[in-house]
Amino acid sequence: MRYTTSVTKGLTSSKAEEVLERDGPNELLPPKGTPEYVKFARQLAGGLQCLMWVAAVICFIAFGIEFSRGTLGCFDDLYLAITLITVVVVTGCFGYYQEFKSTNIIASFKNLVPQQALVIRDGQKNQINAMDLVVGDLVEIKGGDRVPADIRIIFAQGCKVDNSSLTGESEPQSKTPECTHENPLETKNIAFFSTTCLEGVATGTVINTGDRTIIGRIASLASGVGNEKTPIAIEIEHFVDIIAGLAIFFGFTFFVVAMFIGYAFLEAMIFFMAIVVAYVPEGLLATVTVCLSLTAKRLARKNCVVKNLEAVETLGSTSVICSDKTGTLTQNRMTVAHLWFDNVIHAADTTEDQSGQSFDQSSETWRSLARVAGLCNRAIFKPNQESLIVVGDASETALLKFTELAIGNMMEYRERFKKVVEVPFNSTNKFQLSVHELEDPMDLRYLLVMKGAPERILERCSTILIKGQEMPLDEQWRESFQTAYMDLGSLGERVLGFCHIYLNENEFPRGYKFDSDEMNFTTSGLCFAGLISMIDPPRATVPDAVMKCRTAGIRVVMVTGDHPITARAIAANVGIITEGSETVEDIATRKRIPVEQVNRRDARACVISGGQLKDMSSEELDEALRSHPEMVFARTSPQQKLIIVESCQRLGSIVAVTGDGVNDSPALKKADIGIAMGIAGSDAAKNAADMILLDDNFASIVTGVEQGRLIFDNLKKSIAYTLTKNIPELTPYLIYITVSVPLPLGCITILMIELATDIFPSVSLAYEKAESDIMHLKPRNPRKDRLVNESLAAYSYFQIGAIQSFAGFTDYFTAMAQEGWYPLLCVGLRSHWEDVHLQDLQDSYGQEWWVSVIEICQIADVLIRKTRRLSIFQQGFFRSVDVDSMEQMSLTPYIQSYTPCYVSFMKGWGQWWFVPIPYGILIFVYDEIRKLGVRRHPGSWWDQELYY
């Protein structure tokens, strides 16, 4: 034997141990994770972080220069440098901790249930951990098990496996010991690791374990697909470019100005550095990190676990969602949807709880149909379990649940109709039948019940049950049967036919030996009872969610392994294909013209099957995606999913992809945001994804999109806020250089504003509720709608920043004047002010000052609460007067104007809080006017220039 194993006794324990030693445990090694220190280092090396590192280095240099010259207050630079580094490191730790936490959530899924395998070793059956399986082990699998390794079948009985996670085939594959193909993926005698055995039993030898299994090889392939940069990372880089450019531009300008005015070179150099550093938004990094992790937390509460913080925003810019059907859009369970009896199609309740059955159950035909459906059924409720767990094939399960609800207690019902013989379904006769005794002990007839493919069932029938009466099955009835069958089929539903017959008491008396193989009993001339059709119904929340996506300008593309008709029916059901949309084929049939003559652009909808997709070039696929807004891909393999994703990305979309199978992992990685299913998803998919849906529900994605958009908007506000503050922080320095007034705002006080007082309003902007139209706008165009664009910079810097600067100056000159220094006296005062030896500098009143030790640093930063478009009043100003807005509306300006003077004068500075209030009102009024203009004249010059 090749594996030194025995077909009956299996390996010996010692041999198994030896092989385990050699091959290692039977599990998929997680893709080589990035080492923890690299992950941490990455947190310290983002765009903003680099900016801050550079600033810190500049500070050190400035400190070095000033220290060697013995300048007063040179330690400010040192403190600044240290603070900058601290901010980077602390936010780095924070981000790292966040990612670490979500990784943990994911890891916690993995070991939920250690998989067990039934193995034969030393001739004994043992239940062991699947991890310990080795090549050569003899294992047994039965319906419901997950195949524990790649196995060559040596014995099988009605064994069927679901290969969908591997190949995307949604039909169960039967497995037999014969080798039918050279390709291991095609042959019938190999069952693959991680697929599920649906029914039957099989025994086989393990031929591959762990990473050497087929699935292991595919999983390792996925790690080869590169990760795309997240949109937010691109935006932040763009932002840093702008900031750095502006900083250097301003710094250089004032360097030249300072040299021109006559400062020494070194002094001008220090001015240059100070300006560059003043431009660095120290608080922004913390704000971004906090905003993102807050949202991630909020999402986690809504069943989306985000692995990568930046993915939160990516979701918001998504413009195409490629969604799976089964489980994501649908409930992933077959449910009876329609019944046809008495020549009428009845609709059954397909909601999640199936509470109300709406059709008329009084007919006698219904009773017979339900009896056939209930009896001719091999599915059972698992004993000792909650009655909801059913073992059996999907359609039988659906029928069992349906009859359980309609008739009640099926298990007991079946007891009453004792089963005598049964012929299971097979692909040649395409029916299933069983013979039962009747519940009335006096009635000695046997009842034969049969279900199967409708046309096959009809062939065997000679009568039809109408209102409880048997009628001869004539042409008219056949035709109405055909119509009903077609109707149900076109809804994408799986249709089964049901019939029965009471066997003749004389021909088949009690004790008659029924033989299931010979079928020594009547199987024709039966009485047709009706049709039942089943479908995997959409989740109740999905149509709404799809609708929301549509209003939000997001395309939902369905990509499924299912049959095109089913796919289309579900797509129409959930609104992916809207009412009235036609495919090319629809138009052709309606106009009665050949398909080729139809103008492809007339068709909004399009269903492409995997077969067609195989023959399409990438240009053709792009063209199809461009010309049909409503797309459904059916019968696709997971590899084709990758092609579809790439095509969408070529068209400039930001693509979100859902997936669960191992084979989806390349597509998940390729997508801008990969979404793995928490329940159905494989580990490989979860590893490749950026986000995990804990409840597998499509509607959760939409929530995520909303949060993502919100975070983008709020970040924009935060940044506008932070940038605005930059100007009033910088201008005092500029007037200090140019008109030589005493320095109004010290370096340390700036830091205090940035990191102590300003973080809170910045972060509280992250808590802002969505502006009400957030889900009615188109997704942002990543090339045009930047996080920071010209109008935002202009708005923050040259409009609001300017007003705030003037407010600051007013406050400064007020404070100075009220202390005895008139504005005009201040001009040119700098050199005297900073002269250590001058101890009796006279102010406007002739008072003598010793000023070098006194910092008059009063400057106010007047803040407003910013909404981008909607007026504060529209936003529900009065509704949101909570702690949040209170802080922003009133408290902040005061805190801010007060704090700068924390250093030496904690008391007695309150009198200047109120000076900038008129400017606050001015900003408020200006902003409202601006927003009014933007709302009133969309698209106008005003809108373009002043809306950010």
Partner: protein, 251 residues
């Protein structure tokens, strides 16, 4: 037409910012003007930041000493009240201060023009920085003044006293002489009515001469003025006091 549109847009932006900054500048100038209107001509609104610091100076002061208007008298007197700040008395008279009162430290002809520095007997001249409407009050509690200075505590004078800063210098300081009215700051020079009302104001000076400092050693001295409303601050080493370091080389 596109370039015209772009040009048009640019002009609009320019115009927008012109108007915007025009308005802002207007508002700014307006508020500053309004601010100036609220200010008193005679007295700053707040004086919390200009706490009375003492300042020491050595030579630059001298040229100012020749002008005086009214004889202040050589004896210390109480505050000379010249009416309320806001009353319309107009320009107030000021007490003169004769340079000769500083004795050997006056730097006048016949005296040592190097203020004693040549002989190793350096003079320091101290003043209280001017503060509008400030009336220094003599110490109410004599205990606050060190024993060596007790003799100079008298009515209507703010005493000044210097002593060694470090313990070990105590024996090396020698005698310290004080010159000036009452060897301190006499009260008749206060209050100061500000530049506008008191253009010829001269503040009283005190000269401090260290007559017997030990040579060739670094000595640290601290001089303090004592008054009921004169405070000292940890942070500001020049509020109500100053310190000085001498190293006199024997040549």
């Amino acid at each position: 037409s596109e370039s015209i549109q772009a040009k048009c847009s640019r002009i609009k932006i320019l115009l927008f910012y012109l108007i915007f900054y025009g308005c802002l500048a207007g508002i700014f100038i307006g508020t500053i003007q309004a601010l100036l209107l609220t200010l008193s001509n005679y007295k700053p609104t707040y004086q919390d930041r200009v706490a009375p610091p003492e300042s020491h100076l050595i030579q630059d002061y001298i040229c100012l000493l020749h002008r005086y208007v009214e004889f202040g008298g050589e004896l210390p007197e109480s505050y000379r009240d010249r009416g309320q700040l806001e009353s319309d008395v107009g320009v107030r008279k000021a007490c003169r201060f004769k340079r000769t009162w500083l004795g050997p430290c006056a730097g006048l002809d016949g005296h040592d023009e190097s203020f004693g520095f040549k002989d190793g007997k350096p003079c320091l001249i101290a003043k209280l920085n001017r503060i509008v409407n400030f009336r220094p009050r003599p110490p109410t509690n004599n205990a606050s003044v060190p024993d060596a200075g007790q003799t100079r505590v008298q009515l209507n004078v703010i005493p000044i006293h210097c002593q060694n800063k470090r313990e070990e210098d105590a024996s090396k300081i020698g005698e310290i002489k004080y010159y000036g009215i009452g060897m301190g700051f006499p009260l008749q020079y206060y209050p100061y009515y500000g530049k506008l009302l008191h253009p010829q104001y001269l503040q009283p000076l005190v000269a401090i001469q260290f007559t017997n400092l030990t040579f060739n050693e670094e000595l640290r001295l601290e001089c303090k003025v004592y008054g009921a409303n004169i405070d000292y601050s940890e942070k500001d080493r020049y509020q109500g006091r100053f310190d000085v370091k001498f190293t006199i080389a024997s040549s």
